[in-house]
Symmetry: D2
Subunit: 158 residues, 4 copies
């Protein structure tokens, strides 16, 4: 399997996920080449990331209109390892790989029920102010929530 | 050609449009059956409707965050008359068919360069309050802008 | 509640559905007005219709590349009854309303867990030949599968 | 400006593009945070890449149903440098960065009319066989078409 720059040890990496969100490939997500269009996994990443953040208690404040802080995506990447077809179920795994002052590096793995990895990915998420556009450092409590996610991974990797 | 309930006289109807917005079918908008997926023309309608409203000076206020009134779509329909394929150009025609107290009926026609009509549609747009969700009657000036669009059509149809 | 032309008796109509498919509103499906964009329910209709057809044993042949018949959507409409927001679950109900020679009229109802109907819709589906583009009459067995769906509804309505 | 791993010298890099395709941000491409959703630039990349390949005479064969070779995307990445809003025009620049045996590395730059770069990206494209899924080496003529693109860049960078 082709190795991506953000994956040091594939076996360790793929075993360190503890959360996943299931998606099924929609008909409208295929293209005329007959497979899942390459722009769609990023939609899956977003959907799964938000479910992951919800589970860790991080989405609520961000979704309140009066809150000035929102999480934005600083970068995103995806490696497409196998073609995916209409109707197939993909389990989108998500984990926090590392935490910065106002950012976090999130990793993704799309895996089928039979264990086949069909795509992998990563992206940095940054908390910014809606009014100024500048980064907003994580609060202690948000950091703990993210570290909690991280620790689950670390323990899992141990 | 199959006639839709919202079209009384096809010849008159198709000649009464004065505005169009050009779109090209994206690869990601096709599906595994090889043609434009049926959910996409509604995206084209929205894009063309907004260009039409901009041209008639109606979008600016709605896009300001502090403005409480926004236009919402009350209903939408589309008749698919011919398959459309990747890369094809479609001219999305838009007109105001009638104006209510806080609503307007908007008609759409998707036509290729060679004159072939590939889909038709319509939908009511209603101005509502973001805070209450209730309809907000058109101001005199907005009504004039919409009537202006209507008159252009009427004159054209005369 | 506003009544649509395709709904004669709202109480009967809403009680005649026997199938639904659950969707959750994705973040990427919202727009800058803060609610579900109006183009997305048509994607939900497609997803739910295909699940419905699968359950009635009708999708398998259509998805085989060597099969010349495919179902296409002849028209689609949607009435938006209430705003829908990010993360909300909507149960997309589907039923066959009537069957023609090579077509079927499919009805849709989007309902929240609390029973609130947020949108309704309908659309004709036609079986056509990929090579000629002409309608292909239902086989006896396909018709029986569709009638079976219809009967379930009729019985339910009795 | 944050520098991405695939950009060695930002000034050289941004001046080496010779092709661009213009897009306007659709209303349906915004999300409830009020800006362009992060999944959409990948759609823009695809649209612009295909226009670029067309201009270099590379798309025609791939789009013929009887042709067994299709181009697939092996990986994709995007760095989001500035928020983009509804209605804004973005010029999506595309170039071939390097050519392999059956693959090519494509670079992207999204720039506004005022010269502001709003996102950058890259991704490998691979020619594969529809029937076997295996890479198909570029023909001499396809390679020349890609090298031609490359040369234009190289000359431009000189």
């Amino acid at each position: 399997m082709r190795k991506s720059s953000y994956i040091e040890n594939m076996d360790e990496w793929k075993n360190s996920f503890r959360f996943y969100h299931k998606v099924s490939v929609r008909f409208s997500e295929t293209d005329m080449f007959g497979h899942l269009n390459n722009t769609v996994p990023f939609t899956y990443f977003e959907e799964a990331r938000i479910e992951f953040l919800k589970e860790n208690g991080l989405m609520d404040a961000w979704l309140q209109r009066e809150n000035d802080s929102i999480p934005v995506v600083a970068d995103l990447q995806c490696d497409f390892l196998a073609q995916v077809f209409f109707g197939e179920e993909v389990l989108i795994h998500v984990k926090v790989q590392s935490i910065g002052n106002s950012s976090a590096d999130i990793h993704y793995m799309g895996k089928k029920r039979d264990g086949k990895i069909v795509f992998t990915g990563r992206g940095a998420m940054v908390q910014i102010s809606k009014s100024t556009g500048r980064p907003v450092p994580w609060s202690l409590i948000d950091k703990q929530k993210l570290i909690h996610g991280l620790e689950k991974e670390s323990m899992a990797g141990a």
